[in-house]
Symmetry: C2
Subunit: 738 residues, 2 copies
């Protein structure tokens, strides 16, 4: 129940880093006093230490377990009301922690909510780096170094993480990162098949094999659908299903009106949906800007590269070839940063009410930018350079300016005519190898190794700081200085990789082999980042990898188009026996209608297959799904039983009398069972009259007469049997009339 | 609260028609006795009358309102537990009917459940025409003739039904039929635009106009998405949202094993999902059978028709032209009935656990059969006859046998060569006119007028029967003899119509005009059928038009492909100025790649547009959605308030003392506010030691030391202010060290 503290963490739950504004000492002091006060108000104990020259660290823990228990109980009750928990939390707040102990992640999440949550939700309302809390630099939990070390050692030794490992990760850093690990793990495991198959194809069939292409598209499809199912299972296993329904209000949401809610009678902030839709239409110019901006840069650099490498034949060629690469490396990051910041502004302007909606809108914009920066070059090679190079290259003259200072004569920079130019058949393959191998290595180096080196230096500095802090406040747990890792960035990266695999891996079937190896390292690298290089993240709950899923679906779909196109256009181009490329360097004469027909069939077969795979997955039952259903059933049954509403029908005479007055009367009549039939005919008129005058119900007279004939079920039976005799009976019985 | 009875219905809630098995008198009597008994057991009063020569009618009503109230209360509680109702039903069973009166439909639904529900669910378990209840012919409510008459008069006078009318229909015959009416109404209203636009296009642009095509595709798309939204709104308005979650168990479900549920501890019937998946794979041969079976018949008849009308030029041509039509009319219905029964068997074999899953599986199979019977002929004309007739017609010789007896010489039956044959340019248009006008009129006649005529005769017969019954049982409400109308058939018909509109209306832009008129009549005809020709249906709940929605979506999508193809292939063929058809009778030289490119762009623009329209609709808020959210919010707030868990944070000193012992201590300390700082440094060691020995919590010593320094928030503040002074302060203040 009580948290097992890591040896060095001294029961610290959270750290608030407070950086003073050196220009406003008075304000800084006021804000600091306020900080300590609001933390106390929500029930958090604080302990202050010096951080570095201009910052204080406020170490925070729950004042006592009762305070925390109440917060936890409230949060769980809310989960239950939102349908996240099937079973209502029993008992009161005091027993909450005993009945269902907290994981580290849940404890951190609760404390984080106490610090940053809105005051009306029971939080202290501290918003790091914004508004009145602009001096609060950050709010973060401390690493559990013992467990981190265990993970690093453990994961390095095994090929596959077990479900238990994933649960462990989830328990420590929350479901959101848990989902990323689960995704990476599923992806890695699934990759075994295309890696093996790709290798075989590469050996036996070479590049551009249609068989590999088909298998790869199907694999991508099955993987995405499998993951969707897996997400569902995991969210049940981790008890976070429907957690996305609990929508966190966005702090920056700016309502344009307050409208009176007719049900609650309260004024609620509101922003007109139509107005938002109008603002969202600005996404179209943004998309155009992205396409034009990034497109121009990439197409220009690409053209220069082709010009230098395939047209120019003057001095310094080998050096000059790198010019466009350098240009690209220098121009793409700032452009993409500029566009991203623009997208951020637009998303903020779209003014979403919830954080989820905001993130989703942002992710879709980021996806467009990523898509353009990642795939434009290879799309150009496959669908512009190869089919149209002979037509387009003569126009590359315009780039002769770029090499003018180096060229010795005009001939060196003169573009060849359509006839004399032959395309570089290996360009596409080399590009793919670059993305599959080189880029991965470079990325890993810049993302993991480089920060490690810089961190070493920083650590030295931090140690000096820490020893200084030590003098003033005793043993203080060292907070880790770097930013928190974003599972969003991890997912973005995997999504781009999945794109290369789905769109172009038929160009070079060894792609999945390379990615398979890369992803093994990636997972360990990410663990290293998560545990050592960066701050421990604030745990968040999630029931999915979120909007990236749609990106994966889209890439799998697009893969069915590009793979068909690539396989058709290049099939046989790699096979020297078939003569390889045609006389003009192009693989063979591409027929427009055949290409389009290939694409048409491939895409529609893909869509039908997707429907089939989805249906199949949805039909398969699982232990988790069954468990969920049973729990729901139990909850309902228990409720109905408690409300005394679960009676099944009992036969007459077995205590069912209370159910129906009609039945009761029948039971009484049963003893003095006169000839009901005769009785009716004899006394019916008087009886009817008497009944009419006696009964107080509001039946109309005709109805009362109608229903008065057969007053008990036994009477109905009698009359019925009599009427039955009057019917036409076939067979031996014959017709029997009264 | 009490039901307003129609004048003639004498408070009868339901009628059970019991037809005796004339070969088994004894069994019939036994079963009848059983019937009366079980009805009494669930709390229903019965009154028996003779129906016709071999049947009895058991009129049924709730024994008293208390019995019904309990049933209603239980059902509403169940709705609440399943999330159909937001607000928990208050009070006990007795007040259920007072607080929230029953509509006719709800009353009927409850009584129907009492009669046919499973015994463990509180029903009598009567299953008409099956098992031990095979003599129970049917179970149905009586018409409310006054209201029916009012509807017929009312609807005949107005163009559009009001939302109030739809509510009225829903209140009388249940949500399922309510949804059909709402759909038809939305469809009819939406149709105004394409009807007006289509008429303008027909006048200004002629047939095969690309502009009309594009507008039509977009219209179809917007309509389907609008309807999806409308469905959502209606289901909130009618209080049936999520009602599809309450899955009715299928009676015919045959479990293969009983598995023990780990949560409930009960044995539950189970059928392996994998086994079902295997059985579902049989759908593939079924689909092939449908395509081959129906395909062969249609293609053969179609070819014969072309042969006779365009090749044969002997005697009796005008008569013989009708041969294939007759053949088709004779062969399609039995084939399609055969295939449908086959599909029914397969669906039963697939052994679904719930009625919904079963219906969905069946609908998808029916859709395939309908699709083939409805659209194959026109597809053949557009995509086989027009582009390939010149190639294929010479092979039609084989059909010369069909006219051999009539032909005078071989020349009359000899197919022309490719060069001499010219296609009939009006075939496609005529076919479309047939589907848009002729077929609708014929359908209306056979479905509405014909039964009316036959019913007149039947009525005569019934009257004779009734007068006979009268002799034995007084005034008896006449049950209506025909089968209940199936909202399913209505929807199927509208779905096929929507298909013609979406797929081929660009062939003849007057199509929507014709459908607009037709649907006005159709709605009135359906009302007539519902109220007069057929039995009153058993009301059912629904939150959607069900699987037909996917069919509409599919047809809208397919429309983007066919419209593009038709518009490209035939554009200008109707325009005499452009020379009309080419020399070979074909519109113009169709280029494969251009056609495919047209289709490719049209389809993908459609998909992007669909995404945009969906997003736009999902972003728009509505009164119903807001109401739903508010209700949910209220429920949660009320619950949390009742559980005493809704405290927002209160400032220190305003009764928040109980929240945090730390804060309390601070408030006490506040009075005797000594120099905490000095205090700490002076007595810290002794104090630490004392604390360590005294406190009983399980903190480790280092942690206790760490947290012991600053024991109240006021101490933390003091220490913090002191540390703040030590930081590096820029600006005028300068660095100030202690």
């Amino acid at each position: 129940m009580t948290k097992e503290p890591g040896l060095s963490n001294l029961d610290v739950d959270y750290v608030v880093s407070y950086r003073v504004d050196s220009k406003d000492k008075e304000g800084s002091i006021r804000q600091f006093k306020e900080l300590i006060r609001v933390l106390a108000e929500v029930g958090l104990t604080s302990e202050v230490r010096t951080g570095d020259d201009t910052s204080l660290l406020v170490f925070v823990k729950a004042a006592d377990e009762d305070v925390l228990a109440k917060v936890v109980h409230r949060s769980r009750m809310k989960d239950w009301l939102y349908g996240v928990r099937q079973i209502q939390p029993v008992g009161d707040a005091a027993t909450a922690l005993t009945n269902d102990p907290l994981t580290d992640a849940e404890r951190h999440r609760q404390i984080y909510h106490m610090i940053t949550g809105l005051r009306e939700d029971g939080g202290a309302g501290i918003t790091p780096e914004s508004g009145r809390w602009k001096n609060v630099e950050s709010v973060f939990p401390l690493h559990d170094h013992a467990r981190n070390k265990k993970w690093l050692l453990d994961f390095a030794k095994k090929t596959f993480l077990t479900p238990h490992d994933l649960d462990d990760i989830k328990d420590a850093v929350g479901e959101k990162i848990g989902f990323y690990y689960a995704f990476l793990q599923s992806y890695f495991t699934f990759m075994i098949f295309p890696a093996a198959f790709g290798f075989s194809c590469w050996v036996l069939l070479g590049n551009f094999s249609a068989i590999y292409g088909i298998v790869n598209v199907v694999w991508c499809l099955v993987f995405v659908e499998y993951w969707k199912r897996q997400e569902q299972e995991l969210s049940i296993r981790w008890g976070v299903k429907n957690v996305s329904v609990i929508q966190e209000k966005r702090r920056d949401f700016k309502p344009d009106t307050m409208i009176r809610d007719t049900v609650t009678g309260e004024d609620v902030p509101h922003f007109s949906g139509k107005k938002r839709l109008q603002r969202q239409l600005l996404q179209i110019p943004l998309a155009i800007l992205c396409v034009v901006g990034l497109g121009t840069i990439i197409v220009t650099c690409y053209s220069i590269e082709i010009f230098i490498s395939e047209v120019y034949n003057g001095p310094f060629k080998s050096v000059l070839t790198f010019t466009p690469v350098v240009l690209l490396t220098l121009s793409i990051p700032p452009t993409s940063t500029f566009l991203t910041s623009f997208a951020e502004k637009l998303t903020a302007y779209e003014n979403y009410e919830t954080q989820d909606a905001h993130d989703k809108a942002m992710t879709s914009k980021v996806f467009v930018i990523n898509f353009l920066t990642s795939y434009t070059a290879i799309f150009l090679t496959a669908f512009v350079y190869v089919p149209f190079a002979t037509i387009l290259v003569p126009y590359l003259d315009v780039f002769s300016l770029t090499v003018k200072p180096f060229a010795e004569n005009d001939a060196q920079t003169r573009a060849p005519t359509s006839e004399s130019f032959s395309i570089n058949p290996n360009r596409l393959k080399n590009q793919m190898i670059y993305f599959a191998v080189t880029a991965q290595v470079v990325n890993f180096a810049t993302e993991t190794i480089l920060p490690l080196v810089t961190q070493k230096g920083k650590q030295k500095y931090n140690e000096m700081q820490a020893s200084r802090a030590e003098r003033h406040g005793g043993t203080s747990p060292t907070p880790d200085a770097n930013d928190t890792p974003e599972e969003r960035d991890f997912l973005r990266r995997m999504c781009i990789q999945f794109g290369y695999l789905s769109l172009f891996s038929s160009v070079w079937p060894l792609t999945p082999v390379s990615y398979f190896i890369n992803n093994w390292i990636e997972l360990r690298g990410d663990t290293f980042k998560l545990t050592t290089e960066c701050r421990r993240p604030n745990p968040e709950r999630a029931d999915s990898i979120g909007p990236w899923l749609s990106s994966l679906e889209f890439l799998a779909w697009l893969g069915s188009v590009t793979t068909a196109a690539v396989c058709y256009m290049f099939s046989g181009s790699d096979d020297p026996e078939k003569g390889g490329l045609g006389p003009d360097g192009r693989p063979h004469q591409i027929k427009g209608w055949a290409l389009l027909l290939c694409i048409f069939f491939s895409e529609h077969i893909f869509l039908v297959a997707r429907l089939a795979v989805r249906t199949a997955f949805s039909k398969l039952d699982s232990v988790n799904l069954r468990k969920e259903r049973s729990e729901r059933f139990m909850v309902r049954r228990k409720y109905l039983e408690e409300a005394g509403l679960s009676d099944a029908v009992k036969p007459l005479g077995s205590g069912n009398e209370k159910l129906s007055t009609n039945a009761t009367r029948a039971l009484i009549d049963e003893k003095g069972d006169a000839d009901v039939l005769g009785d009716i005919t004899r006394s019916s008129l008087e009886e009817d009259a008497r009944q009419e005058s006696l009964t107080e119900d509001n039946m109309e007279p005709a109805a009362r007469r109608f229903w008065g004939r057969q007053r008990t079920w036994r009477e109905s039976e009698k009359v019925g049997l009599h009427l039955l005799e009057e019917l036409e009976w076939g067979g031996a019985e014959g017709k029997k009339s009264k």
